[in-house]
């Protein structure tokens, strides 16, 4: 299978005064295109830290992360923002929707940033703001929320919010969607519905997912599951 992400000898330490807390200790991992990869492990083992590093929200202490042979650890702050906007989608445990914006606006936000900040260029093709909204509407339709376009997050249920978050992650056709405990804050029935959506997107769009979870139901649906122990991957 074609490699999308290659992680080489990744180290991450946090410092509190003179004391050093080593979270990741020479982690190596490959992520393939179109796969659903779940990362499991005990609490505090560094799963979320790894996800943040892959998501370019933090920088490693040592080691490299390659996206299709591009070393993202060498990118500047602004280049990283652009990279996040273009190549990465995030889904969090607590949906992290913007309360002042409707479901449609929340989904369109990443596209709006791209349109406004990066001249709206999507895979070399310039898109207008209207196209961004049309796409956001289409994504919301595809996750079953066509009736909820103008609703604010406070007017949506937990499962609906998470589906909006998934649609939001898809707006700029990212290379990978990083999900941190996507079912951690919703009931079992709703979790199943959300997982159905994830699986559907993966199959329909060949979308790559990296999911950090404790939920064994997700790993059952994943194409590959890795376990983290003591800051390293055990496949």
């Amino acid at each position: 299978m074609e490699k999308l992400i290659r992680i080489d000898n990744l180290h991450k330490s946090y410092y509190d005064g003179d004391s050093e807390l080593k979270v990741l200790k020479g982690l190596n991992l490959d992520v393939h295109k179109s796969e659903i990869l779940t990362i499991m492990g005990a609490s505090g083992v560094g799963k979320s830290t790894l996800l943040h590093l892959i998501g370019t929200l933090d920088r490693p202490t040592e080691g490299s992360i390659f996206y299709e042979d591009q070393d993202i650890t060498a990118l500047s702050e602004i280049e990283l923002s652009r990279f996040r906007n273009n190549a990465i989608g995030f889904v969090f445990q607590f949906h992290q929707l913007l309360a002042e914006f409707t479901a449609l606006e929340n989904v369109a936000m990443g596209g709006y940033i791209k349109y406004s900040k990066y001249s709206g260029s999507l895979n070399g093709k310039t898109q207008s703001l209207r196209e961004v909204y049309e796409k956001a509407e289409h994504l919301l339709n595809s996750v079953g929320l066509s009736e909820r376009l103008t609703h604010f997050p406070s007017q949506l249920s937990g499962g609906e919010r998470q589906r909006v978050a998934i649609a939001r992650a898809l707006i700029n056709q990212p290379k990978v969607i990083l999900a941190d405990e996507p079912t951690g804050n919703i009931d079992d029935k709703t979790s199943e519905a959300v997982l159905d959506v994830l699986q559907d997107i993966n199959e329909r769009l060949n979308q790559t997912f990296i999911i950090v979870t404790h939920d064994s139901r997700i790993s059952e649906r994943a194409k590959r599951t890795v376990h983290m122990v003591d800051g390293k991957i055990e496949e």
Partner: protein, 487 residues
Amino acid sequence: MKFEWFVASRYLQSRRKQSFISIISIISIVGVSLGVATVILVIAVLDGVEHGLRDRFLANEAHIVLRMIDHSFFGNYQDRIEQITEIDGVVAASPVVYSQMGVFQTGSEGITDTIYIKGIDLTQEEKVTGFSQYVNGSIDFQTSPLIAEAELREQETITGGIVLGSRLAQRHGLTRGDVLRLVVKLVEDPGGFGSPMLLVDFSNFVVIGVYESELAVYDNRIGFIDYKTAQKLYSQVGKVNVLLVRLEDAETVSELSPVIEETAFSFMEMPITTTWLETHSALFAALKMEKMATVIIEALIILVAAFNIASTLIMTVMEKTRDVGTLRTLGATRGNIMRIFIIQGSVIGMLGTIAGTVLGLGLCWLLSTNILRPSPWIAIAVIGILILCQTIITFRRLIPTSKALKIGMVFFWTLTVCFVLYCLVKPISLKELGFSEIYQMNQLPIRVNWFFVGFINLLSFLICWLATIYPAWQASNLNPIEALQYE
């Protein structure tokens, strides 16, 4: 619309149920607007006072006063006047016999008051100070019928007519036709026994008119007589002790006064020239100082309002910390985040400045416009009814949900406030408050200085903009991971 504007405008509106931030935004806007309105109003009043006094001084006074260093009399004044009037920029010049005399009131045993007497040449004085327009009564110092009547009535010799300052006349209970006995000078009598005695040289004048310039300094202490009479009283026929000059442009005094002095007098005569600016320099300097101090104090008011904006933004940043984290994950840069909060604060500052300017200018207009206004009771009734309606609406939760209705409500409230201000704010009479003597004018003067309005707008906006920098920088520096986990 740029993404930053889109987010910032939504944060200003705050659609959430807890409309905490948006209420604070309104309070911030009101804070800035009150600051700006106060500055505009106070400076308009100070400017009004300065220009009011200046206009009055310029209307009543000569622009340049020429005299000898020892206040002595000098001749050839007609020749000197001709020479002066030939200078470019000079409108007219007039001779004056300026002196101080004592008031000897009937029934009293001595001098009860001293007043300044200005002996004037009516024709020339008219060109220099526009004397007659301030006189109520006659200005015919020699042939007024009142003189003959008084002579007949009092059986005394009358030297001539006098026009008295209105407050001076009032203070001594004098009206037109009354006789005023003035002590012109004290003469030493060498023929007495022992030490020489001082004899009082009286002259009787009939009050033929009252001079009302609304400048207390004149209305309180001055009387006008014919200059030839004054020359005779001081035995200085053919001489005067002051020349007054009026210029086309009062602002050219500094350039023209040395030219006039050199043209009319020789260096040996040791003349002294005093311009209107020098005469009132202390007053204008004090006013300038007052204005400067006021601007500083008022700028501090705007600064306080700007701190209000800063605290509003800091609270917004705290409330939106998770949003900042989310936006960073979506690809927003630190610059984007900073601009969102700068825009939010700047919009508050701009709205506050515009509202303050409109309010300030509106108050200036209301305070300077004398038109018939509805009774204040109507205003109180209107505002009372409106507050009652609003209370019922609020308690019954009949809050309008549509945007059009909300805008309508705001428009209705604005109109009501305008109407109430229209009813309540009117020109302030300094005369009624008893301040007219202090401020030399009857009504609180208002003069809008448009340059200053522009300046204060810029200053206010700049201060508000600067106030946004720190909170915006704080927001842009949030660690996206910590921001996402912020509780």
